[in-house]
């Protein structure tokens, strides 16, 4: 690494790496396209969803340390504006959603009841995956959650398949009402995997109705984004495939929502996919087993200042859309919902051992 490599001068070459390679610099110079106004009703929906995501995850950490859930548990704190901003810009139980191992909050935004998600994390029969999946494998066909996928990148082709079905039903089966759009969520580290590039190509080639939502939280476990990616501006890769690409402040739910709305509109109109890079940050370690030793305090502090929930609360109160008391009341309701999910999951039955081999085959 210390060895210098002589690169022959190529005067005509354009610079390979952008001057805006640092996350915070990029955030500071973001161009925010279009208005990001929100109605009171929508604003409260967003606030409620993000608050649920945050408080649910805080409860998960508590339950993990109390020995109620096991295995690898990846929390989403800090990134809520992405899940909420994208999913609430789409149609519930109509559009499709695909996640990773960091999937609890996506599931909640899709409408999977907190009771079912918490039960799954406790391994109970009432879990959305019947206790077979666990934290990294949340599924709900009812809520069009295509799943949590534990291996890097493998959800992207699955999401592509759902987008393909949408187009197929319309153009090969003559169902004019088939206009569902799929959102695939994945991280910055995942954008160095072949499936990302393969699927961008196919989605653009066939003009599939899909949003590739990159949750660029700057880190892939302990691998800093700039150390893993030759050109850290992921959204620019869209251009190589001839598709729309956009970068957005992933800590600003209104900006994320507006960008998602533009992308969804294009997708429903048959104009194909969008690569949406959301600049965000996770407030906790990679998983609850991560000592989180590499990220600097200054960096954490920089992002803590941009807490997306506080930012939305500020917007709602400053614009007279909601009072601080109303927001407090929502938080109380959410706390009750999360507490209810925990007591439901604690009391729920374990899966029946006699059903150990059930769900292998389609017939059972």
């Amino acid at each position: 690494m210390t060895q210098e490599i002589a690169v022959p001068a190529r005067p005509e070459a354009t610079p390979v790496s952008s001057p805006l390679s640092s996350h915070s610099e990029r955030l500071a110079s973001l161009y925010t396209a279009g208005p990001t106004a929100v109605s009171r009703d929508d604003g409260l929906i967003l606030y409620r969803d993000m608050t649920l995501g945050r408080r649910f995850e805080d409860k998960c950490a508590e339950m993990y340390y109390r020995g109620k859930m096991f295995g690898f548990v990846h929390l989403y704190n800090g990134q809520e504006a992405v899940s909420t901003g994208v999913i609430k810009a789409m149609r519930a139980q109509h559009d499709w959603f695909c996640s990773t191992y960091r999937d609890h909050v996506h599931a909640l935004s899709c409408g999977v009841p907190a009771r079912e998600v918490m039960s799954e994390l406790f391994g109970k029969a009432t879990g959305c995956s019947k206790g077979r999946g666990g934290s990294m494998h949340l599924f709900s066909k009812e809520h069009h959650l295509l799943g949590g996928y534990a291996f890097i990148g493998e959800g992207i082709p699955v999401a592509l398949g759902a987008a393909f079905t949408s187009r197929y039903k319309r153009d090969a089966m003559g169902d004019a009402s088939s206009d569902s759009v799929t959102a695939a969520f994945f991280g910055d580290g995942t954008c160095n995997n072949g499936q990302f590039f393969e699927c961008l190509n196919m989605a653009a080639l066939w003009k599939l109705p899909i949003l590739f939502v990159v949750e660029n939280n700057k880190w892939a476990i302990g691998m800093a984004h700039d150390r893993a990616t030759s050109d850290p501006e992921i959204w620019r890769k869209a251009a190589a495939f001839g598709m729309a690409g956009e970068e957005v402040d992933g800590m600003d739910v209104l900006a994320v929502r507006a960008a998602a709305q533009r992308a969804v509109e294009r997708a429903r109109a048959g104009e194909g996919p969008t690569l949406l890079e959301c600049l965000t940050y996770r407030f906790r370690g990679h998983s609850l087993a991560d000592p989180d030793e590499l990220r600097s305090e200054a960096e954490k502090e920089f992002w803590a200042q941009r807490d997306p929930i506080k930012a939305l609360a500020g917007h709602l109160t400053a614009h007279g859309l909601a009072s601080a008391e109303e927001l407090k009341a929502i938080e109380k309701e959410i706390d009750a919902e999360v507490a209810d999910a925990v007591s439901f999951a604690l009391a729920a039955p374990e899966p029946d051992p006699a059903e150990l081999t059930r769900y292998i085959w389609a017939e059972d």
């Binding site: 077979r132 066909k141 592509l160 197929y168 090969a172 499936q195 699927c199 196919m202 085959w361």
Partner: protein
Amino acid sequence: MAETLLFNALRDAIDEEMAKDPTVCVFGEDVGQYGGSYKVTKDLYEKYGELRVLDTPIAENSFTGMAVGAAMTGLRPIVEGMNMGFLLLAFNQISNNMGMLRYTSGGNYTIPTVVRGPGGVGRQLGAEHSQRLEAYFHAVPGIKIVAVSTPTNAKGLMKAAIRDNNPVLFFEHVLLYNLSEEIPEGDYICALDQADVVREGNDVTILTYSRMRHHCIKAVQQLEAEGVDVELIDLISLKPFDMDTISRSIRKTHRVIVVEECMKTGGIGAELIALITEHCFDDLDARPLRLSSQDIPTPYNGALENLTIIQPSQIVDAARRLKAGTL
């Protein structure tokens, strides 16, 4: 009955199922305009259009994963591996997504997919194009594995695989596409989980599949002349094995040979003989035999290649000695 080549039998099966069910579609490299590298989808692109017979870029893991997502949302995709070996790149999607997803999702989703294509050792294609992935994929839970061997079973099994609501890995063989025989007219299916008793006999049971069925038939003809009465069974289903048919035969002959084209270590025969030992130990009069390919990458040189896979003379010799008790 009509004289039909094996690749056309497969094509007819896909054509008939696509005509009947608009959710059936084909994904793969060169399956559309080119008609498939072994012509299994010839003219279907013209008939059904570019979405139903989808020419994909060379991206095995992603188009296989795409088939999973399409199946989860209501389609019944058939994925062609241009050569089954290329699907090593899709191992993750076949294992984690096709095989395991229904279970990990607690029954939320079904994955009605067929993954098909040419497998096996051809003629001097070199190691990478001569793979027997049925052995590599054997441990994956939640998938059915079948191997076809005649035009008749190729058509009936393809139709059954397309209609099945589970993922089916469907092995064809590069050297059998031009096999020709009279097959029944129109719509018929063959059960995915049933072995085919090719010849009944009393002395020795031979269990085989795919192209080795034809090597075994040659061997059986010679053994017949020598007075060795072989019961020849084509397994058809490599997962799960049809243990009813297999056990019944062993209860009659008390001797068994497995003839396979995959490598010996971790092969189909390894698992099959383990099961036979568990289920039929008391019925056996001699230790079970395995005739498998050498545990080496298949060499290019023709003579070396022939030494790598089992030849009919080796089957004759093994059956003869097994009957005579001179092993």
